[in-house]
């Protein structure tokens, strides 16, 4: 290993730490006190459905037609998840439930994205 190699590795680690910090700030720091959140389902970046997330324990399954097939999005009160997807790796299903603003589930093969929006998450953090 040379000096330049080590500099490169340190640089990459710093970039990774930076993106981890941004990720942490945007999603994980937002607490459950966030209100008025909604799940937005996008296909190829186009919004096809918006679901209000309320703590009323409502349960439902929505069907959307993605790029390669049918996907099922499951709603459980104030959280959603990808329940069924036609993609080969099932990454989106394994990701499980999401509920905080900024969190998202992306199914790349099917071009479907579920994203939580709204809420007063940052206010709740900084007070």
């Amino acid at each position: 290993m040379r000096k330049a190699d080590n500099c490169l590795i340190v640089g990459v680690l710093l970039a990774a730490a930076l993106s981890a910090m941004i990720y942490y700030r945007v999603t994980l720091l937002r607490t459950d006190t966030a209100v008025d959140t909604r799940a937005v389902i996008k296909i190829r970046g186009r919004i096809v459905r918006t679901i209000d997330l309320l703590k009323d324990g409502k349960h439902a399954v929505y069907q959307v037609q993605g790029s390669i097939g049918r996907a099922l999005v499951e709603l459980d009160g104030n959280r959603v998840r990808m329940r069924e997807a036609p993609c080969p790796d099932r990454t989106c299903i394994l990701q499980g439930w999401i509920e905080r603003p900024g969190e998202s589930v992306v199914c790349l093969p099917n071009l479907v994205e579920i994203r939580i929006e709204g809420g007063s998450g940052l206010d709740a953090v900084t007070r």
Partner: protein
């Protein structure tokens, strides 16, 4: 170096790259992060860049992605576009570093290739999805690329050493094939011969 020998070697590289590309897709992901691959096919692209320069490297990278995705049945799908963009971006970066940044060793260039492969893929993914939220994935992909880049860099050291010892390929790097500690020296003025 005769044209026929170059063509044969080039075809071998494309075939090897395609095989590795397809086989890697069949192996269950050994890493806990989805989407992370070792990038064995990139070793072949690197060898092509190292021996024949940018244009041949790009040709090997693009051809193996096209052939590999035809075998896998994902031609022109998002997965294909991701593979293609990652391959092209990493080949460009590796060729640039080999040519203009002699301060990096083979392993350093390999790490840069792995990182830029992931960066190119994420950029394409963001363009396809028209969404920036996918960039959060960098936090997981970058450390993974470091590890896989080191592994493929080590493999490259072994591959280039064997290629030279076998006499199939002669690599002159500043008048010296390999340094004493087994690491290959890469400089801007590599002369290749077959």
């Amino acid at each position: 170096m005769s044209d026929t020998r170059k063509m044969v070697f080039f075809s071998l590289l494309v075939a090897l790259g395609t095989t590795l590309h397809v086989m890697e897709g069949m192996i269950p992901n050994p890493f806990p992060i989805p989407g992370v691959k070792l990038g064995l096919a990139n070793v072949v692209t690197f060898v092509a860049v190292y021996l024949y320069g940018l244009r041949s490297g790009l040709a090997v990278g693009v051809l193996r992605v096209i052939l590999g995705s035809l075998v896998g049945g994902v031609f022109l799908s998002p997965a294909f576009l991701l593979s293609l963009s990652g391959s092209v971006v990493s080949t460009l970066i590796m060729a640039f570093l080999l040519r203009f940044a002699p301060c990096f060793s083979i392993r350093g260039v390999s790490v840069a290739g792995a990182v830029s492969h992931n960066a190119g893929q994420l950029l394409t993914a963001a363009l396809i999805m028209r969404s920036c939220s996918i960039f959060y994935y960098l936090a997981f992909l970058l450390p993974a690329a470091l590890v896989t880049g080191m592994i493929t860099g080590h493999l490259l050291d072994m591959v280039l050493g064997r290629l030279e010892r076998s006499g199939v390929v002669q690599i002159y790097a500043g008048g010296k094939g390999g340094s004493d500690n087994g690491e290959y020296v890469c400089r801007g003025n590599i002369r290749r011969a077959l």
